[in-house]
Subunit: 257 residues, 2 copies
């Protein structure tokens, strides 16, 4: 058995939601060049949703900031040896949550890399679509309200972002959160949730969207190459690949579109 000289590790702050954390781990493994178990990068996942709380609820109604729980998870992961941290949750990247987390972490652990899923995704989109392109966004109400994607894409003026109208945002949010048929409440994904999401995806396509950002980590569980024929941008895959690039760049697999 050979050990690499530098044993960096990836830390996933999961639980937001739980399935998205496991999904991020899987996408990291899938995007790693490894023919044996031992060629994989070390990885740790925490999934303590009770200690973090609901991100959208905080953004819309206030209360205790999920940044506190996220920071505690970050410390646990750093304690285990993680050098690159990711938070596979779009809503957690809203500035009222992510900014205090980033600041606390920079102050206490300036050597640790905390990747920003939305900024990584904006960079990826700008590179993947070098010509003027219209992109659609499907997300939770919290992510729309906080303008995390429009703000991150401001740096790339050749990308035009379109978002669903108010009624459609409610429907997408419902497909994620409904306690009977929402993606968070049911695995595998229910027919009700899938139908809503496919309808809303094609509405954005009719309005000119050439590709869609799956702007909530639960959405790739429903919208895949098998269920919809529009080009999809999965920020969890973008984040997984960035995590590999920042930890052991030689192990990053070639991109498969």
């Amino acid at each position: 058995m050979r050990y690499s000289v530098c044993m960096n590790a990836i830390g996933i702050i999961g639980g937001v939601g739980p399935m998205a954390g496991a999904d991020a781990a899987q996408k990291i493994f899938e995007n790693t060049n490894a023919a044996t178990d031992q060629e994989h990068i070390d990885l740790y996942l925490t999934s303590t949703p009770r200690s973090i709380g609901d991100r959208t609820k905080f953004l819309l109604e206030g209360g205790s900031n999920p940044a506190e729980g996220l920071y505690k998870n970050a410390l646990q992961l750093i304690g285990l040896g993680a050098s690159t941290l990711i938070v596979p949750c779009n809503t957690a990247h809203a500035p009222p949550i992510f900014d205090p987390l980033r600041k606390k972490l920079r102050d206490s652990h300036p050597d640790i890399t905390l990747l920003h899923m939305i900024e990584e995704t904006a960079k990826h989109i700008a590179k993947r679509f070098p010509e003027p392109t219209t992109i659609g966004l499907l997300a939770t109400k919290g992510t729309h309200a906080l303008k995390t994607y429009p703000n991150a894409l401001l740096a790339y003026p050749h990308i035009t972002l379109i978002e669903p109208d108010r009624e459609s945002r409610e429907r997408v949010h419902d497909a994620i959160y409904n306690q009977r048929y929402g993606i968070k409440a049911r695995a595998p994904v229910s027919r009700e949730a899938l139908t809503i999401l496919i309808e809303e995806a094609y509405k954005l396509h009719k309005q000119g969207a050439e590709a869609l950002i799956l702007g909530c980590t639960e959405l790739p569980l429903a919208l895949t190459r098998e269920t919809i024929s529009l080009p999809l941008i999965d920020p969890t895959v973008v984040l997984a690949r960035s995590a590999i690039l920042h930890t052991e760049p030689a192990k990053l697999k070639d991109e498969v579109e």
Copy 2:
């Protein structure tokens, strides 16, 4: 947000292999009764395959015992708060690896539950098939050689286990380990690996197997309800459900066969 009185947590010693660790996390979430993120059980996953080493290689050729690395992972998970530990790897349950791990853990942490995937699976099979039944086993060469399943099933004489002949064991092992098309080397699963496994599954069925144990955690990535029409027993699902039962029994979903 409400906290349960007792904050037990599940710890997954992953990395053996990495995808199996993420798969176990997913199966725990899928088998948890939870309509919101916050209703999920706390969970931690370590995935440090370089520090554990290949289990089959140790069983067949000797060298340093993977039990050492597994124990270090166990201590990390206990340090985070895990009270129930699982190792989603069949080969790691061979007595030369699992027995020293179990002993060390009992000595240092008698309050921690370390579930035994094979014993849990044998118990599950005996309950699911109350009449005399023949079951087939697909596994790595290490698992066959160490007789982990036949030994665990000795307690249930109404279950007859059949295993592939030597040539077929080589083929199944190759479908898992081949560095070009094996499941460990490629995601998604290659056509070559899937073809071998379907052929070997039906060979066991012809010999009388009414259901098949997917006795290596990589196998459920290839053999699913979609790819094969034989009844399958996935020890990772059995283990995931046992972990929930031992941690927060009220959260265990009803079984879906």
